[in-house]
Protein backbone atom coordinates (compact mmCIF):
# COMPACT_ATOMS: atom_id res chain seq x y z
CA UNK A 1 0.00 0.00 0.00
CA UNK A 2 1.33 3.37 -0.94
CA UNK A 3 -0.99 4.77 1.65
CA UNK A 4 1.35 4.17 4.49
CA UNK A 5 4.49 5.88 3.38
CA UNK A 6 3.42 9.45 3.90
CA UNK A 7 2.44 11.04 7.09
CA UNK A 8 -1.25 11.25 6.38
CA UNK A 9 -2.76 10.40 9.72
CA UNK A 10 -6.33 10.76 8.59
CA UNK A 11 -6.28 8.36 5.70
CA UNK A 12 -7.85 5.46 7.45
CA UNK A 13 -10.05 7.49 9.70
CA UNK A 14 -7.61 7.21 12.56
CA UNK A 15 -6.61 10.53 13.94
CA UNK A 16 -3.44 11.42 15.67
CA UNK A 17 -3.96 12.85 19.11
CA UNK A 18 -7.22 12.56 20.98
CA UNK A 19 -10.02 10.82 19.14
CA UNK A 20 -12.45 13.59 18.19
CA UNK A 21 -15.32 11.21 18.92
CA UNK A 22 -14.61 11.54 22.63
CA UNK A 23 -15.53 15.21 22.65
CA UNK A 24 -18.29 14.77 20.12
CA UNK A 25 -20.12 12.13 22.12
CA UNK A 26 -19.55 13.98 25.36
CA UNK A 27 -21.08 17.10 23.82
CA UNK A 28 -24.06 15.16 22.58
CA UNK A 29 -24.59 13.51 25.94
CA UNK A 30 -24.36 16.86 27.69
CA UNK A 31 -26.96 18.44 25.43
CA UNK A 32 -29.34 15.50 25.67
CA UNK A 33 -29.19 15.23 29.44
CA UNK A 34 -29.39 19.00 29.97
CA UNK A 35 -32.48 19.06 27.81
CA UNK A 36 -34.00 16.16 29.67
CA UNK A 37 -34.21 14.00 26.56
CA UNK A 38 -32.21 11.18 28.09
CA UNK A 39 -31.68 10.36 31.74
CA UNK A 40 -28.19 9.55 32.91
CA UNK A 41 -29.44 6.66 35.03
CA UNK A 42 -31.13 5.14 32.02
CA UNK A 43 -27.86 5.16 30.13
CA UNK A 44 -26.22 3.31 32.98
CA UNK A 45 -29.08 0.83 33.11
CA UNK A 46 -28.75 0.13 29.38
CA UNK A 47 -25.03 -0.44 29.71
CA UNK A 48 -25.49 -2.65 32.71
CA UNK A 49 -27.83 -4.88 30.72
CA UNK A 50 -25.50 -5.28 27.77
CA UNK A 51 -22.38 -5.57 29.87
CA UNK A 52 -23.70 -8.17 32.28
CA UNK A 53 -26.86 -9.85 31.06
CA UNK A 54 -27.18 -9.87 27.30
CA UNK A 55 -24.40 -11.63 25.44
CA UNK A 56 -23.46 -14.78 23.58
CA UNK A 57 -23.84 -16.97 26.67
CA UNK A 58 -27.58 -16.56 26.16
CA UNK A 59 -27.37 -18.02 22.71
CA UNK A 60 -25.05 -20.77 23.89
CA UNK A 61 -27.68 -21.91 26.37
CA UNK A 62 -30.23 -22.05 23.58
CA UNK A 63 -27.90 -24.18 21.48
CA UNK A 64 -27.01 -26.48 24.36
CA UNK A 65 -30.67 -27.12 25.06
CA UNK A 66 -31.39 -27.77 21.39
CA UNK A 67 -28.53 -30.24 21.29
CA UNK A 68 -29.79 -32.11 24.36
CA UNK A 69 -33.53 -31.94 23.88
CA UNK A 70 -34.98 -33.02 20.51
CA UNK A 71 -38.39 -31.57 21.37
CA UNK A 72 -36.82 -28.24 22.12
CA UNK A 73 -34.79 -28.42 18.91
CA UNK A 74 -37.97 -29.04 17.02
CA UNK A 75 -39.69 -26.10 18.71
CA UNK A 76 -36.66 -23.91 17.95
CA UNK A 77 -36.89 -24.90 14.32
CA UNK A 78 -40.62 -24.20 14.11
CA UNK A 79 -40.86 -21.08 16.27
CA UNK A 80 -37.50 -19.78 17.36
CA UNK A 81 -38.90 -16.61 18.92
CA UNK A 82 -41.06 -18.59 21.35
CA UNK A 83 -38.52 -21.31 22.02
CA UNK A 84 -35.85 -18.73 22.82
CA UNK A 85 -38.26 -16.69 24.96
CA UNK A 86 -38.78 -19.85 26.98
CA UNK A 87 -35.22 -19.42 28.19
CA UNK A 88 -35.90 -15.79 29.01
CA UNK A 89 -34.27 -14.16 26.00
CA UNK A 90 -36.55 -11.71 24.27
CA UNK A 91 -36.80 -8.20 23.00
CA UNK A 92 -34.67 -5.69 21.20
CA UNK A 93 -33.07 -7.07 18.03
CA UNK A 94 -34.50 -10.47 18.78
CA UNK A 95 -38.18 -9.76 18.34
CA UNK A 96 -38.46 -12.11 15.38
CA UNK A 97 -36.02 -14.98 15.62
CA UNK A 98 -35.23 -17.79 13.28
CA UNK A 99 -32.84 -20.64 14.01
CA UNK A 100 -30.99 -22.27 11.14
CA UNK A 101 -29.39 -25.64 11.72
CA UNK A 102 -26.00 -26.62 10.40
CA UNK A 103 -25.58 -30.16 9.19
CA UNK A 104 -22.70 -32.04 7.63
CA UNK A 105 -24.28 -31.24 4.26
CA UNK A 106 -25.11 -27.57 4.81
CA UNK A 107 -23.38 -24.74 6.60
CA UNK A 108 -25.22 -21.52 7.42
CA UNK A 109 -23.61 -18.10 7.61
CA UNK A 110 -25.34 -14.90 8.73
CA UNK A 111 -24.58 -11.38 7.57
CA UNK A 112 -26.25 -8.03 7.26
CA UNK A 113 -24.94 -6.41 4.10
CA UNK A 114 -27.05 -3.25 4.52
CA UNK A 115 -26.26 -2.33 8.10
CA UNK A 116 -25.45 -4.45 11.14
CA UNK A 117 -28.56 -6.46 12.00
CA UNK A 118 -27.62 -9.04 14.59
CA UNK A 119 -29.56 -11.09 17.16
CA UNK A 120 -28.78 -8.98 20.22
CA UNK A 121 -31.10 -10.88 22.56
CA UNK A 122 -29.06 -14.05 22.18
CA UNK A 123 -25.63 -12.81 21.06
CA UNK A 124 -25.32 -9.35 22.60
CA UNK A 125 -23.64 -6.55 20.70
CA UNK A 126 -22.04 -7.48 17.39
CA UNK A 127 -18.26 -7.60 17.04
CA UNK A 128 -16.60 -4.93 14.94
CA UNK A 129 -15.81 -7.28 12.07
CA UNK A 130 -19.48 -8.13 11.69
CA UNK A 131 -20.35 -4.46 11.18
CA UNK A 132 -17.37 -3.62 8.96
CA UNK A 133 -17.22 -3.38 5.17
CA UNK A 134 -14.98 -6.39 4.50
CA UNK A 135 -17.35 -8.90 6.07
CA UNK A 136 -20.52 -7.24 4.83
CA UNK A 137 -19.11 -7.04 1.30
CA UNK A 138 -17.61 -10.50 1.04
CA UNK A 139 -19.79 -12.86 3.07
CA UNK A 140 -22.37 -12.90 0.29
CA UNK A 141 -20.06 -13.20 -2.72
CA UNK A 142 -17.17 -15.21 -1.28
CA UNK A 143 -18.49 -17.06 1.77
CA UNK A 144 -16.08 -19.97 1.49
CA UNK A 145 -13.13 -17.61 1.28
CA UNK A 146 -14.39 -15.66 4.28
CA UNK A 147 -14.91 -18.83 6.28
CA UNK A 148 -11.36 -19.86 5.51
CA UNK A 149 -10.15 -16.56 6.95
CA UNK A 150 -11.95 -17.53 10.15
CA UNK A 151 -10.15 -20.86 10.04
CA UNK A 152 -13.25 -22.75 8.98
CA UNK A 153 -12.47 -24.99 6.03
CA UNK A 154 -15.52 -26.98 5.05
CA UNK A 155 -15.36 -30.23 3.10
CA UNK A 156 -15.82 -29.45 -0.58
CA UNK A 157 -19.18 -31.13 -0.72
CA UNK A 158 -20.68 -29.00 2.04
CA UNK A 159 -23.18 -26.52 0.67
CA UNK A 160 -23.15 -23.01 2.06
CA UNK A 161 -26.23 -20.97 2.75
CA UNK A 162 -25.76 -17.28 3.45
CA UNK A 163 -28.56 -15.40 5.21
CA UNK A 164 -28.58 -11.69 4.54
CA UNK A 165 -30.60 -10.11 7.37
CA UNK A 166 -32.46 -7.58 5.25
CA UNK A 167 -35.57 -7.40 7.46
CA UNK A 168 -36.27 -7.68 11.20
CA UNK A 169 -35.87 -11.45 11.23
CA UNK A 170 -32.75 -12.27 13.23
CA UNK A 171 -30.88 -15.47 12.51
CA UNK A 172 -29.23 -17.78 15.01
CA UNK A 173 -27.05 -20.53 13.62
CA UNK A 174 -27.26 -23.86 15.47
CA UNK A 175 -23.83 -25.38 14.99
CA UNK A 176 -23.26 -29.10 14.57
CA UNK A 177 -22.87 -30.76 17.93
CA UNK A 178 -19.27 -31.88 18.35
CA UNK A 179 -18.62 -35.60 18.48
CA UNK A 180 -18.06 -37.34 21.78
CA UNK A 181 -20.23 -34.98 23.78
CA UNK A 182 -22.99 -37.44 24.66
CA UNK A 183 -22.39 -37.40 28.36
CA UNK A 184 -22.14 -33.64 28.82
CA UNK A 185 -24.70 -31.61 30.69
CA UNK A 186 -26.16 -28.36 29.40
CA UNK A 187 -23.55 -26.18 31.02
CA UNK A 188 -20.67 -28.18 29.62
CA UNK A 189 -22.28 -28.19 26.19
CA UNK A 190 -22.86 -24.43 26.28
CA UNK A 191 -19.17 -23.94 26.96
CA UNK A 192 -18.46 -25.42 23.53
CA UNK A 193 -20.65 -22.92 21.75
CA UNK A 194 -18.70 -19.87 20.63
CA UNK A 195 -20.24 -16.63 19.52
CA UNK A 196 -18.79 -17.07 16.05
CA UNK A 197 -20.30 -20.54 15.75
CA UNK A 198 -23.75 -19.00 16.22
CA UNK A 199 -23.08 -16.56 13.37
CA UNK A 200 -21.76 -19.38 11.22
CA UNK A 201 -18.28 -17.89 11.17
CA UNK A 202 -17.00 -20.70 13.34
CA UNK A 203 -17.74 -24.23 14.47
CA UNK A 204 -18.54 -25.38 17.97
CA UNK A 205 -15.42 -26.26 19.92
CA UNK A 206 -14.25 -29.85 19.90
CA UNK A 207 -13.90 -31.50 23.25
Amino acid sequence: MTDKHHDHPHEDGHEDGPDPMVARVAALEAVLTEKGLVEADALDAILELYETRIGPRNGARVIARAWSDPDYADWLRRDATAAIADLGYTGRQGEHMRAVFNTEAMHNLVVCTLCSCYPWSVLGLPPVWYKSPPYRARAVIAPREVLAEFGVVLPEGTAIRVWDSTAEIRYLVVPVRPEGTDGLDAEALAALVTRDSMIGAGLALAL
Binding site: V25, E34, A45, H96, P134, G157, I160, R161, V162
Partner: protein
Protein backbone atom coordinates in the same frame (compact mmCIF):
# COMPACT_ATOMS: atom_id res chain seq x y z
CA UNK B 1 -30.76 3.96 -1.93
CA UNK B 2 -27.64 2.85 -3.74
CA UNK B 3 -25.64 4.30 -0.93
CA UNK B 4 -22.45 3.39 0.91
CA UNK B 5 -24.37 0.95 3.11
CA UNK B 6 -25.16 -1.41 0.25
CA UNK B 7 -21.95 -3.37 0.55
CA UNK B 8 -22.87 -6.86 -0.60
CA UNK B 9 -20.44 -7.94 -3.33
CA UNK B 10 -18.29 -4.81 -3.17
CA UNK B 11 -14.54 -5.18 -3.54
CA UNK B 12 -11.54 -3.33 -2.22
CA UNK B 13 -12.05 -3.46 1.53
CA UNK B 14 -9.41 -6.06 2.25
CA UNK B 15 -9.72 -9.16 4.39
CA UNK B 16 -12.10 -9.64 7.28
CA UNK B 17 -10.14 -8.87 10.42
CA UNK B 18 -11.60 -10.62 13.46
CA UNK B 19 -10.00 -9.33 16.65
CA UNK B 20 -8.99 -11.99 19.16
CA UNK B 21 -10.59 -11.40 22.56
CA UNK B 22 -12.35 -8.36 21.23
CA UNK B 23 -13.61 -6.15 24.06
CA UNK B 24 -17.30 -5.31 24.13
CA UNK B 25 -16.37 -1.65 23.56
CA UNK B 26 -13.11 -0.18 22.33
CA UNK B 27 -13.39 3.12 24.15
CA UNK B 28 -15.63 4.69 26.72
CA UNK B 29 -17.21 6.93 24.09
CA UNK B 30 -18.48 3.83 22.32
CA UNK B 31 -20.29 2.78 25.52
CA UNK B 32 -21.90 6.18 25.76
CA UNK B 33 -22.72 6.15 22.03
CA UNK B 34 -24.52 2.84 22.31
CA UNK B 35 -26.51 3.88 25.35
CA UNK B 36 -27.35 7.32 23.96
CA UNK B 37 -28.58 5.82 20.72
CA UNK B 38 -30.90 3.43 22.52
CA UNK B 39 -32.12 5.97 25.04
CA UNK B 40 -32.80 8.62 22.40
CA UNK B 41 -34.49 6.03 20.21
CA UNK B 42 -36.75 5.19 23.14
CA UNK B 43 -38.28 8.66 22.87
CA UNK B 44 -40.26 7.00 20.12
CA UNK B 45 -39.97 9.83 17.62
CA UNK B 46 -38.24 7.96 14.84
CA UNK B 47 -38.44 4.35 13.74
CA UNK B 48 -35.53 2.00 13.25
CA UNK B 49 -36.15 2.50 9.53
CA UNK B 50 -35.71 6.25 9.69
CA UNK B 51 -32.67 5.68 11.83
CA UNK B 52 -31.09 3.29 9.31
CA UNK B 53 -31.83 5.72 6.52
CA UNK B 54 -30.11 8.51 8.46
CA UNK B 55 -27.03 6.30 8.76
CA UNK B 56 -26.85 5.33 5.09
CA UNK B 57 -27.42 8.96 4.09
CA UNK B 58 -24.09 10.05 5.53
CA UNK B 59 -21.67 11.12 2.79
CA UNK B 60 -20.23 7.90 1.35
CA UNK B 61 -16.63 8.82 2.13
CA UNK B 62 -17.60 9.53 5.74
CA UNK B 63 -19.66 6.35 6.10
CA UNK B 64 -16.88 4.14 4.75
CA UNK B 65 -14.22 5.68 6.95
CA UNK B 66 -16.19 5.73 10.18
CA UNK B 67 -16.48 3.05 12.81
CA UNK B 68 -20.01 1.82 13.31
CA UNK B 69 -20.56 3.72 16.54
CA UNK B 70 -19.35 6.86 14.80
CA UNK B 71 -21.95 6.23 12.11
CA UNK B 72 -24.55 5.85 14.84
CA UNK B 73 -23.58 9.11 16.50
CA UNK B 74 -23.55 11.10 13.29
CA UNK B 75 -26.95 9.72 12.35
CA UNK B 76 -28.31 10.33 15.85
CA UNK B 77 -27.23 13.95 15.63
CA UNK B 78 -28.98 14.25 12.28
CA UNK B 79 -32.19 12.75 13.66
CA UNK B 80 -32.17 14.97 16.74
CA UNK B 81 -31.70 18.08 14.63
CA UNK B 82 -34.25 17.00 12.03
CA UNK B 83 -36.90 16.52 14.68
CA UNK B 84 -36.17 19.78 16.44
CA UNK B 85 -34.80 18.37 19.68
CA UNK B 86 -31.39 19.97 19.40
CA UNK B 87 -29.62 22.44 17.15
CA UNK B 88 -26.33 22.32 15.36
CA UNK B 89 -25.16 25.15 17.58
CA UNK B 90 -25.96 23.14 20.71
CA UNK B 91 -24.03 20.15 19.42
CA UNK B 92 -21.10 22.38 18.56
CA UNK B 93 -21.09 24.00 21.98
CA UNK B 94 -21.98 20.93 24.00
CA UNK B 95 -24.72 22.62 25.99
CA UNK B 96 -28.40 23.44 25.71
CA UNK B 97 -29.07 26.90 24.32
CA UNK B 98 -32.84 27.01 23.89
CA UNK B 99 -35.79 24.72 24.47
CA UNK B 100 -36.44 22.31 21.65
CA UNK B 101 -39.20 19.91 20.71
CA UNK B 102 -40.76 18.08 23.64
CA UNK B 103 -40.24 14.31 23.61
CA UNK B 104 -43.22 11.96 23.53
CA UNK B 105 -41.59 10.09 26.38
CA UNK B 106 -38.25 9.82 28.13
CA UNK B 107 -36.76 6.49 29.05
CA UNK B 108 -36.48 6.05 32.81
CA UNK B 109 -33.79 3.84 34.30
CA UNK B 110 -36.34 1.60 35.96
CA UNK B 111 -38.10 1.00 32.68
CA UNK B 112 -34.97 -0.06 30.83
CA UNK B 113 -35.12 -3.83 31.44
CA UNK B 114 -38.75 -3.99 30.38
CA UNK B 115 -38.28 -1.77 27.34
CA UNK B 116 -35.31 -3.78 26.13
CA UNK B 117 -36.90 -7.13 26.80
CA UNK B 118 -40.07 -6.06 25.00
CA UNK B 119 -38.21 -4.62 22.02
CA UNK B 120 -40.21 -3.27 19.12
CA UNK B 121 -41.87 -6.03 17.17
CA UNK B 122 -42.69 -5.08 13.59
CA UNK B 123 -45.23 -7.77 12.76
CA UNK B 124 -48.72 -6.42 12.26
CA UNK B 125 -52.15 -7.99 11.94
CA UNK B 126 -52.69 -8.83 8.27
CA UNK B 127 -56.48 -8.66 8.54
CA UNK B 128 -57.75 -10.28 5.41
CA UNK B 129 -54.66 -9.57 3.34
CA UNK B 130 -53.50 -12.89 1.98
CA UNK B 131 -49.90 -13.54 1.00
CA UNK B 132 -49.51 -13.49 -2.77
CA UNK B 133 -46.75 -16.08 -2.72
CA UNK B 134 -46.30 -19.43 -1.05
CA UNK B 135 -43.25 -21.53 -0.24
CA UNK B 136 -41.90 -23.08 -3.42
CA UNK B 137 -43.06 -20.26 -5.67
CA UNK B 138 -40.61 -18.92 -8.19
CA UNK B 139 -40.30 -15.14 -7.91
CA UNK B 140 -38.35 -12.40 -9.58
CA UNK B 141 -37.14 -9.43 -7.57
CA UNK B 142 -37.85 -5.96 -8.82
CA UNK B 143 -35.41 -3.95 -10.85
CA UNK B 144 -35.38 -0.71 -8.94
CA UNK B 145 -32.90 1.87 -7.77
CA UNK B 146 -34.86 4.14 -5.44
CA UNK B 147 -33.12 7.21 -4.07
CA UNK B 148 -34.88 6.61 -0.74
CA UNK B 149 -34.55 3.81 1.77
CA UNK B 150 -34.93 0.24 0.63
CA UNK B 151 -33.97 -3.15 2.02
CA UNK B 152 -33.61 -4.87 -1.32
CA UNK B 153 -29.85 -5.01 -1.78
CA UNK B 154 -28.51 -4.05 -5.17
CA UNK B 155 -27.06 -7.52 -5.78
CA UNK B 156 -30.50 -9.08 -5.38
CA UNK B 157 -32.41 -6.96 -7.88
CA UNK B 158 -33.84 -8.43 -11.04
CA UNK B 159 -32.97 -11.93 -9.83
CA UNK B 160 -34.98 -15.13 -9.86
CA UNK B 161 -35.31 -17.03 -6.62
CA UNK B 162 -37.59 -19.34 -4.72
CA UNK B 163 -39.84 -18.43 -1.81
CA UNK B 164 -38.68 -20.53 1.08
CA UNK B 165 -40.93 -19.26 3.86
CA UNK B 166 -43.55 -16.67 4.62
CA UNK B 167 -42.02 -14.75 7.48
CA UNK B 168 -44.97 -12.66 8.62
CA UNK B 169 -46.75 -9.42 7.87
CA UNK B 170 -44.18 -6.75 8.58
CA UNK B 171 -43.80 -2.98 8.58
CA UNK B 172 -42.45 -1.87 5.20
CA UNK B 173 -39.21 0.07 5.70
CA UNK B 174 -39.21 1.75 2.30
CA UNK B 175 -42.36 3.56 3.39
CA UNK B 176 -41.79 3.85 7.11
CA UNK B 177 -38.30 5.32 6.83
CA UNK B 178 -39.56 8.50 5.25
CA UNK B 179 -42.73 9.11 7.21
CA UNK B 180 -45.11 7.52 4.73
CA UNK B 181 -46.45 5.14 7.35
CA UNK B 182 -45.89 1.53 8.32
CA UNK B 183 -47.74 0.16 5.28
CA UNK B 184 -47.12 -3.45 6.36
CA UNK B 185 -46.72 -6.19 3.77
CA UNK B 186 -46.12 -9.90 3.69
CA UNK B 187 -42.46 -10.72 4.10
CA UNK B 188 -40.80 -13.75 2.52
CA UNK B 189 -37.53 -15.55 2.78
CA UNK B 190 -36.34 -15.87 -0.80
CA UNK B 191 -33.45 -18.12 -1.77
CA UNK B 192 -31.15 -17.69 -4.76
CA UNK B 193 -28.44 -19.87 -6.15
CA UNK B 194 -25.16 -17.97 -5.88
CA UNK B 195 -24.63 -18.50 -9.61
CA UNK B 196 -27.84 -16.63 -10.34
CA UNK B 197 -26.62 -13.66 -8.33
CA UNK B 198 -22.90 -13.51 -9.07
CA UNK B 199 -22.83 -15.31 -12.41
CA UNK B 200 -19.32 -16.07 -13.60
CA UNK B 201 -17.86 -15.17 -10.21
CA UNK B 202 -20.08 -17.24 -7.93
CA UNK B 203 -18.57 -19.73 -5.51
CA UNK B 204 -19.82 -23.21 -6.38
CA UNK B 205 -22.35 -24.79 -4.05
CA UNK B 206 -23.47 -21.61 -2.38
CA UNK B 207 -26.97 -20.23 -1.97
CA UNK B 208 -28.03 -16.92 -0.57
CA UNK B 209 -31.26 -15.71 0.94
CA UNK B 210 -32.79 -12.38 1.73
CA UNK B 211 -35.99 -11.36 3.45
CA UNK B 212 -38.08 -9.61 0.84
CA UNK B 213 -41.32 -7.69 1.16
CA UNK B 214 -44.08 -8.60 -1.24
CA UNK B 215 -43.77 -5.43 -3.32
CA UNK B 216 -40.16 -6.35 -4.10
CA UNK B 217 -41.39 -9.50 -5.81
CA UNK B 218 -42.99 -10.29 -9.13
CA UNK B 219 -43.99 -13.51 -10.80
CA UNK B 220 -41.20 -14.29 -13.27
Amino acid sequence: MNGPQDLGGQHGFGPVAPEPDEPRFHADWERRAMALTLAAGAMGTWSIDESRHARESLPPAVYLRASYYEIWIRALEALLVRHGFVTEAELAEGRALAPGAAPLRVLAALAVPAVISRGAPVDRAPGDVQPAFAPGDLVRTAVMHPAGHTRLPRYARGKTGVVEAVQGFHVFPDSNACGRGEAPQWLYSVVFEAAGIWGRDAEPGAALSIDAWESYLERP
